[in-house]
Amino acid sequence: VRRVRRVAARLGHTKRYWLLPALLVLGLCAVLYLIAAGSGDEAFQYVLY
């Protein structure tokens, strides 16, 4: 139990390294999705053949 607590505490102290970047990536994708969905289809000229 002590060992689990120690690992949990360590993870808690270092979450800015292992959690924050992932949340930033997910947040960026979510924002892009909302912008893309709300902006109409102005990007149509970027044809993918």
């Binding site: 959690l19 994708c29 892009l32 893309a36 109409g40 970027y46 044809v47």
Partner: protein
């Protein structure tokens, strides 16, 4: 505090895991999320290929299937989103070919709800007494313009021996044929996440730069080389019609962002297209009055996708059927000047060269 390499490794692993999660999520939920740009990319990747004919640029891959915008799409053996039809027209058959782009193709619309198939049913149900069978072939391919559509008719479509050719026209049919902005050979092309980020980035740039607004974009097309080529394609279509004795009808689909008849921002462009068509003896049917009294949201595939939905396709089919029934299936004498009143509000446009 962890060491610098450990921190860097943790950050890199975190970003990688998140990116993988988004990639997996886009693949698993792609059809449900129906992100317009990603779905269009899937269409290009799965159902299109480059053509050996540079005037066509791209064609459908024969006998391929995909689920796009939540709709099943199947391409037949000859590259059409349709049943297989023999080139030789069966006796007693009146054959219509519907040329067009993603609108005619039926982007986001189930096959049987597309306007060519609805028109086929209407003709067979309501004109059964004439003792003919009617076939309406859907020759729409996404991202084609008028030049490509007429080139397909010349190089392939004439083999089907059409009696009537419908030219589905939309504002962006005056686009020039351009190279794909994202190279299909690039590894980026295989990743849903990469395409999503790339198209989102492109869209953000367009939002910041006002020239990316669709109104300015459409308007600029009619001052460029694409419009010159488009006008020549109308002339080519008229020449093919005279040589091969089929009737023609250009059907103008309005931009559905704002179809209020008084507010519609592209009336002058419709008039220019109609003027060019009439100059070549191609009659026109403008669908703006058909859609004008209806709210845009009732007519489009999705909030971020202004392609006509199944309801709008149904209205188009009824309007085209009504026009054909009133004009002897387009077989009556071509009267360009008289055609201006046929729902097209098309005064002669000064200075529109043919």
């Amino acid at each position: 505090v962890p060491s610098l390499p450990a921190r860097a490794a943790a950050v890199a692993a975190s970003v990688l895991v998140a990116a993988l999660a988004v990639e997996v999520g886009l693949r698993a939920l792609g059809s449900r999320l129906a992100i317009y740009d990603v779905e269009m990319w899937k269409y290009a990747r799965d159902l299109k290929r480059l053509s050996a004919n540079p005037r066509l640029r791209h064609v459908h891959r024969p006998e391929r299937r995909a689920r796009l915008m939540g709709v099943e799409v199947a391409i037949n053996a000859r590259g059409l989103r349709d049943h297989d039809y023999p080139y030789a027209k069966p006796p007693g058959t009146y054959r219509v070919i519907a040329l067009g782009d993603s609108i005619t193709f039926g982007w986001g619309v189930p096959f049987e709800e597309t306007y060519p198939k609805r028109l086929e049913r209407l003709l067979n149900e309501r004109l059964a007494a004439r003792g003919r069978r009617y076939e309406v072939l859907n020759a729409g391919v996404g991202n084609w313009n008028t030049v490509q559509e007429v080139e397909w008719l010349r190089s392939e479509g004439l083999r089907y021996q059409p009696d009537l050719v419908l030219l589905g026209y939309f504002l962006n049919d005056a686009e020039p044929i351009v190279a794909p902005a994202l190279d299909p050979a690039s590894p980026v092309y295989r990743s849903h996440l990469a395409v999503f980020l790339w198209t989102s980035w492109s869209k953000l740039r367009l939002l910041v730069d006002d020239t990316g607004h669709y109104r300015a974009y459409y308007r600029d097309l009619y001052a460029g080389e694409g419009w010159d080529a488009c006008r020549r394609a109308f002339a080519d279509l008229a020449r093919l019609a005279a040589e091969h004795r089929f009737a023609t009808l250009a059907v103008l689909f309005p931009d559905l962002h704002d179809v209020g008849e008084e507010r519609y921002p592209f009336r002058d462009i419709h008039a220019r297209v109609v003027a060019v068509a009439h100059r070549h003896g191609i009659r026109t049917l403008d669908l703006l009055p058909t859609y004008a009294s209806r709210p845009s949201r009732a007519l489009v595939v999705a909030r971020d996708d202004a392609h006509p939905n199944g309801h709008a396709h149904g209205l188009a089919a009824e309007a085209i059927y009504g026009w054909l029934a009133a004009h002897e299936l387009g077989e009556g004498s071509a009267a360009p000047a008289a055609a201006a009143g046929e729902g097209s509000a098309a005064p002669a446009v000064a200075g529109e060269r043919s």
